[in-house]
């Protein structure tokens, strides 16, 4: 048998898929195809390739659903978006909040940043004065 010729006596495509998934079906037919595989390089190669496709398919994960459906009162089903509230805050407000936080933190720490001939020095109120 060559790689390009297959003499399987039956519906080859269906037999290949049935073998690939090992999904119940006719045991005798499966054994027949299994015996055929020993002599048919084309079917063996295709089976390996389809197994490879299945391996790749297994890597496809849908995005996590960002919702929860509750049916406490099923007639009025509520869809509750999961909390990603920070995304609804404008970017400028997030930056302002971050700066405010830094400012307050620096104030509490009594931060003193200097750059002089001795280089950069950072001192906080927690450090003893030199």
């Amino acid at each position: 048998m060559t790689d390009s010729f297959c003499g399987y006596d039956g519906d080859r495509d269906e037999a290949l898929v049935a073998f690939l998934y090992d999904d119940g079906g006719d045991r005798q037919e499966r054994e027949l195809f299994e015996a055929h595989l020993i002599t048919c390089a084309r079917c063996r190669n295709e089976l390996d390739a389809l197994r490879g496709v299945r391996t790749q398919l297994a890597r496809w994960a849908p995005p996590e659903p960002a919702f929860a459906v509750t049916y406490g009162n099923p007639q009025s089903a509520i869809r509750t978006p999961q909390s990603r509230w920070w995304r609804d805050i404008p970017a400028w407000a997030q930056v302002a909040a971050a700066l405010l936080f830094l400012g307050v933190s620096a104030g509490i720490a009594n931060l003193d940043v200097r750059y002089d001939a001795n280089g950069l020095s950072v001192r906080t109120g927690w450090m003893p004065p030199e």
Partner: protein, 190 residues
Amino acid sequence: MPWTDEELVAKSIRGDADSFNELVLRWERPIYALAYRTIGREEDARDVCQETFLRAFRALPGFRGQAKFSSWLYRIALNLCRDWVRRERRTPVVQAPEDVDLIEMAAAAEPSESIEDLVARKDLSRLVERAMALLPEEQRTAIVLKEYHGLTFQEIADLVGCPLSTVKTRLYQGLTVLRRELARNDKAKL
């Protein structure tokens, strides 16, 4: 011992809202994942998921347990996805790479996973998503149900209403397209 789906359905029909909530909690992620992988849009997948449970709740008194509760839910969700595709008259949309949020990615990382591995994993995930978006709806649905929801050929056939052999053919054709597309991407990366 947790309640079975069927027991929760029976309690829900008798008016126990908590039981229905339990069913929602149990099935909302699989249904959302099914919708997302079928239509490719997070927001719309969430809507489909919510609508699926609303419809299920309304139709619950008529549910006689001919099929598993999960199969019944899948059928409702798939019909809604089909409606979405028809309404939008387009193939699933792959969300743009700029949606990627590095902070979220870092949070999603396995503790032992480096950021490089994480990026590679996300890249591959996106490649698969793009390749899946190229498939005709019926092939994509067959692959999603088989690969990600572990349904048997027979269950898929019952769900989408086609012969068993058609399910296998759709899977074969879909996987063959994916193989070609993923190989093309591998070559492009070299």
